[in-house]
Symmetry: C2
C-alpha cells in the first residue's frame, strides 16, 4: 500500500522509451533507475509490452483530459499582440516541459510500429493544434482583429510552421532560443499578412 512504484515505473518507462525507443529499452536498466531489481517490475506489470500499453493509455487519457473537449479551449486573444503573446507562452511551455518533450519523442519513435501511437502522433503534431487555432482564429475574425478567411486553413498555415520549430527543439535542444525567436518572427509575419487593420 501507499506505494507509487507502479506509477514510477511508467515515469521511468517514458524517460527510457523517449531516449532509446521501445526496442532499445531493457527492463534491467529501467528497474535499476528506480533502485530495484528487474523481477520487481513484474510485480506491477506482467510484461514489457504491458508497460508500453499502460504508458500509452496514460498518454491518451492525458491528451483527452487536456486537449480533448472544447471546454479546455484557450480564450480567444482580443488583439493581434495577444495572439503573439499567447503563442509564445504556449510554445515556450511545450518546448521546456520535460514530460511533454518526452511524450513527443516517444510518439515520434513509435509512430510506425504502434497504431495507437500513430493516431496520437497525428493529433499531437497536426490535427490537435489546428483545431484549437481554428477556434481561436474564428473568434478573432469575429472580433475583427483578423481578416475574414477560412479559419481552418489559417490555423493549418499558422500551426504547422510552429510545430516544425517545436520538432526542431526536440531534435536540437541547443537551438531552442533561436527557434523561439523564429516562432515570434513568424507569428508577427502572420499577423502582418492576415491581420485586419482598423
Amino acid at each position: 500500500m501507499a506505494n507509487d512504484t507502479k506509477e514510477r515505473i511508467l515515469e521511468a518507462a517514458l524517460e527510457m522509451f523517449s531516449q532509446n525507443g521501445y526496442a532499445g529499452t531493457n527492463i534491467r536498466e529501467l528497474s535499476a533507475s528506480l533502485g530495484l531489481v528487474k523481477s520487481g517490475v513484474y510485480k506491477h506489470y506482467e510484461s514489457k509490452e504491458a508497460i508500453w500499453n499502460a504508458l500509452l493509455d496514460e498518454m491518451i487519457a492525458y491528451y483527452g483530459e487536456h486537449f480533448g473537449s472544447s471546454e479546455h479551449l484557450p480564450p480567444v486573444p482580443d488583439s493581434q499582440e495577444g495572439l503573439v503573446t499567447m503563442t509564445m507562452q504556449m510554445v515556450n511551455f511545450t518546448v521546456h516541459d520535460e514530460r511533454i518533450i518526452m511524450t513527443r519523442k516517444v510518439l515520434t519513435l513509435e509512430q510506425f510500429r504502434d497504431g495507437r501511437a500513430r493516431e496520437l502522433a497525428t493529433k499531437h503534431f497536426l490535427t490537435g493544434l489546428t483545431e484549437i487555432f481554428t477556434h481561436i482564429f474564428a473568434g478573432m475574425m469575429d472580433k475583427g482583429s483578423l481578416r475574414r478567411d477560412d479559419p481552418a486553413m489559417l490555423a493549418f498555415a499558422y500551426t504547422t510552421p510552429i510545430s516544425a520549430l517545436i520538432h526542431l527543439c526536440d531534435r536540437e535542444p541547443d537551438k531552442k532560443e533561436e527557434a523561439m525567436a523564429q516562432v515570434e518572427a513568424f507569428s508577427r509575419h502572420f499577423i502582418r499578412v492576415y491581420g485586419q487593420e482598423d
Copy 2:
C-alpha cells in the same frame, strides 16, 4: 567480383531500419531477406554499426549530390499556377518514392540517437526545403508573380505546412490522397494571399 551483395545489404538495412529502427533490427532477418545466412553479412561489413554508418554515409552523399549545391535548384516557375504544378509534382514524387519514404523514416527514428542522423533530419525536414523555396520565391518576386516580401520567411511559411503533410503521409499512408488535396488547397491559398495581381 561482379557482386552487389554489399550494396544489397544497405538496401535491406534501409528497409529494416526504417520499419523497426536500428535497435529493433537484427542481422538474422536482414540476411534472410537477402537469401543468405547471417554470418555472410560479416564478409561485407564488420558489424551492425558499420552497416548503419555506411547507410548514413550513403544517405548523406545522396543528399549532397541531389540537394547540396545550387546547381540542382529547380527552375523558378514563371506563373502562380506554375508554383502549384511544381509543388504537386515534388510532393507527389516524394510521398510515393519508397526509397525516400524509408530515408525519412530512418531519420525520424534515429534522430535522437545519432548526431549525423539528427543533422540530416533537420536538413531534410526543415532547412533544405526552406532554402530551395527561398530561391524560388526570390525569383518569383523578381518576375512579378509574388508580392515583395522576405523570401526566406515566405519559404518557411510555405514549406513547413507541406512538410507536415508529407510526414502525415509517412505515418498514415492511407491518407495520401487526402493529404495531396490539402497540399494543393494550401498552395492555392498561399498564392491567393501572397500572389501579385497584375
